[in-house]
């Protein structure tokens, strides 16, 4: 019996509602039940999305489950599953030298609503629903970033994120207003025909130019593209660690989805032009991200710059033709989600008492060789060195860019990869080479069972995706 393709979306809404009710109940028992329910639910949803087949029919007028859309759903669910599994220890035991976070179930409910927004972005076919979907994927994030606004740095990070986000949504709306003005209607198809007629010279493209520029300003904020990424380091450092992971994984994937939908949807006729723009922005973003990360000593700030650089690399894929770009970006985002969560998990375990800075990693290879090994696999995957998954992911990205003929850009991007290897190796330097100060030799590391499971599964995922990437071919089907 073929499951209706809309099933995962509806189930997600139900799960969000269920979590809200648990939050409202407010007693201790429901609080403890929230996380297992959320993790179980999301896992179920992920399995469901794997079983469901995409179908061309439109539900409720504009909601459709396209093949790429389905893969993005699987990506969002996979990423959210990882974030929830990671966040549980922060709500149970706390981390990064601060106390445990409160109101777990509300956190999860908001998280799932963000997920719904992301689902919307990949499923709709008109500007209005797209705008609301995008805002639904962003505004609850302001709340999540501000989950510990009472803390000195948490508050500051939340404020910065909100103000920047508001500015970005202004530009988004402005761009949509001009797109609507051009096309006369909100439907992607109408916009596309209008853009096509402008492309072959039957009208001045001034409006289109401003619309595209404003669009990139909007998505630039969310995807941390070069001129718009100044907020990232501060917010990644200030926000609670699970939210930082959420930002770097789910929010980035949503932004990539949004950009892909727009570039291959309404702006498809101007694809050659937008690709060139993406090329320039990608080169700038990866360079600034890499350069910024060199001197970092705080782990989360380090991961911020690393995620800016990775955004630059993902943009490199978007330069390629539609199917190849989507496939490459999807595979890389899967690998990036797994690797980033693995990195944050290791930092969480290592930095529980000493705070998440480079010092907490010192002498890790002696204290717990397994964790140091996982950190090494993680760093090499981020740097894109074989045999771990990052390499194959990066290779897909570059192959998508190369298929558009930008060979020298691929060499530039690969050299940027070398630059990124420089600071990723600095992390390993702390773990393996820098001698431990005396007296702190045997800081035992507490790793609770769920974290062990998480670390194990992610390590397997990162290594296996590297060695037998046939898994990637299901993306490009």
């Amino acid at each position: 019996m073929t499951l209706p393709s809309i099933l995962p979306d509806v189930a997600l809404l139900a799960l969000a509602a269920l979590l809200l009710l648990a939050g409202l109940a407010g007693n201790e028992k429901s609080e403890r039940l929230a996380f297992p329910a959320a993790i179980g639910g999301t896992a179920l949803l992920f399995l469901l999305s794997l079983l469901v087949q995409p179908s061309p029919e439109k539900f409720l007028g504009c909601w459709s489950v396209t093949p790429a859309g389905l893969h993005f759903r699987q990506l969002f669910l996979f990423a959210t599953l990882l974030v929830e599994a990671f966040a549980r220890s922060y709500f149970r035991r706390g981390g990064d030298g601060k106390g445990p976070l409160e109101r777990g179930s509300e956190f999860l409910a908001t998280l799932h609503l963000v997920l719904l927004g992301a689902f919307a972005v990949v499923s709709v076919d008109n500007l209005l629903a797209l705008f609301v979907g995008l805002e639904l994927a962003t505004i609850p994030l302001y709340c999540l970033v501000a989950w510990r606004a009472g803390d000195r740095r948490g508050g500051e990070a939340a404020v910065k994120y909100v103000v920047m986000g508001a500015g970005a949504s202004c530009f988004d709306l402005f761009s949509f207003s001009y797109l609507y003005g051009l096309a006369g209607s909100l439907d992607f198809g109408a916009v596309a025909t209008r853009v096509a007629s402008i492309q072959d010279g039957s009208g001045s493209s001034g409006l289109l130019r401003v619309a595209v520029a404003a669009l990139f300003a909007g998505v630039g904020f969310k995807l941390t593209i070069f001129p718009f990424q100044m907020w990232a380091p501060d917010v990644y450092e200030g926000a609670p660690t699970p939210v930082t992971l959420l930002l770097s994984v789910v929010s980035k994937s949503a932004a990539v989805a949004f950009l892909l939908v727009l570039m291959h949807g309404p702006l498809a006729p101007a694809l050659a032009k937008t690709q060139e723009l993406v090329l320039l922005l990608s080169a700038l973003t990866m360079t600034v991200g890499n350069l910024g990360a060199i001197h970092q000593r705080h782990l989360r700030r380090f991961m911020a710059y690393s995620s800016v650089a990775q955004a630059g690399f993902i943009l490199a894929a978007l330069v390629g033709p539609a199917d190849r770009a989507t496939g490459a970006a999807l595979f890389y985002l899967f690998v990036y989600a797994a690797t980033n969560t693995l990195a944050f998990a290791v930092f969480a375990v290592a930095g529980e008492e000493r705070g998440e800075t480079f010092e907490c990693l010192r002498g890790l290879s002696r204290r717990s060789p397994a964790l140091a090994g996982i950190l090494a696999v993680c760093m090499f995957s981020l740097a894109g060195i074989p045999p771990v998954a990052g390499f194959v992911g990066k290779f897909f990205l570059f192959s998508s860019a190369a298929s558009a003929g930008h060979y020298l850009f691929v060499v530039f991007a690969a050299l940027n990869g070398t630059l990124s290897l420089y600071y990723y190796l600095h992390v390993l330097r702390e773990a393996y080479i820098v001698p431990e100060e005396e007296g702190k030799e045997n800081g035992a590391l507490r790793v609770d069972p769920l974290q062990k499971v998480l670390l194990g599964c992610l390590l397997l995922a990162v290594v296996l995706l590297g060695l037998l990437p046939q898994l990637s071919d299901f993306l490009s089907r």
Partner: protein, 104 residues
């Protein structure tokens, strides 16, 4: 009576957006910045309505988008102000320049 043309309204909206942008960049009081954001959103709405009125094949959806944007702006401002209040309770200030503990 179409006493004025579309481009006049568009220019007016752009002017509003520009003033809002200037305010956002130059003000130091956070709530002032939010006010300017409101202004920019309003300018975008004027744009939408103008396009709907003058030359849209499907005018109702343009107006609908502007109505939705008003609702979303409301939600956004609510969240923003909540965060400001929470931060103010802790940092005792609304000055954007004082918020520079996170840097480097």
């Amino acid at each position: 009576m179409t006493g004025f043309s579309l481009s006049a309204v568009l220019v007016l909206a752009a002017l509003l957006f520009a003033v809002g942008l200037y305010g956002l960049l130059s003000r130091r009081n956070l709530i002032g910045m939010l006010l300017c954001v409101e202004l920019m959103l309003n300018a975008a709405n004027v744009n939408l309505v103008a396009f709907a009125r003058f030359e849209s094949g499907d005018p109702a959806s343009g107006a609908l988008l502007s109505v939705f944007s008003i609702a979303i702006a409301g939600a956004e401002m609510a969240v923003a102000l909540a965060i400001l209040v929470a931060m103010h309770r802790r940092r005792r200030t609304l000055d954007a320049d004082e918020l520079n503990e996170l840097q480097g």
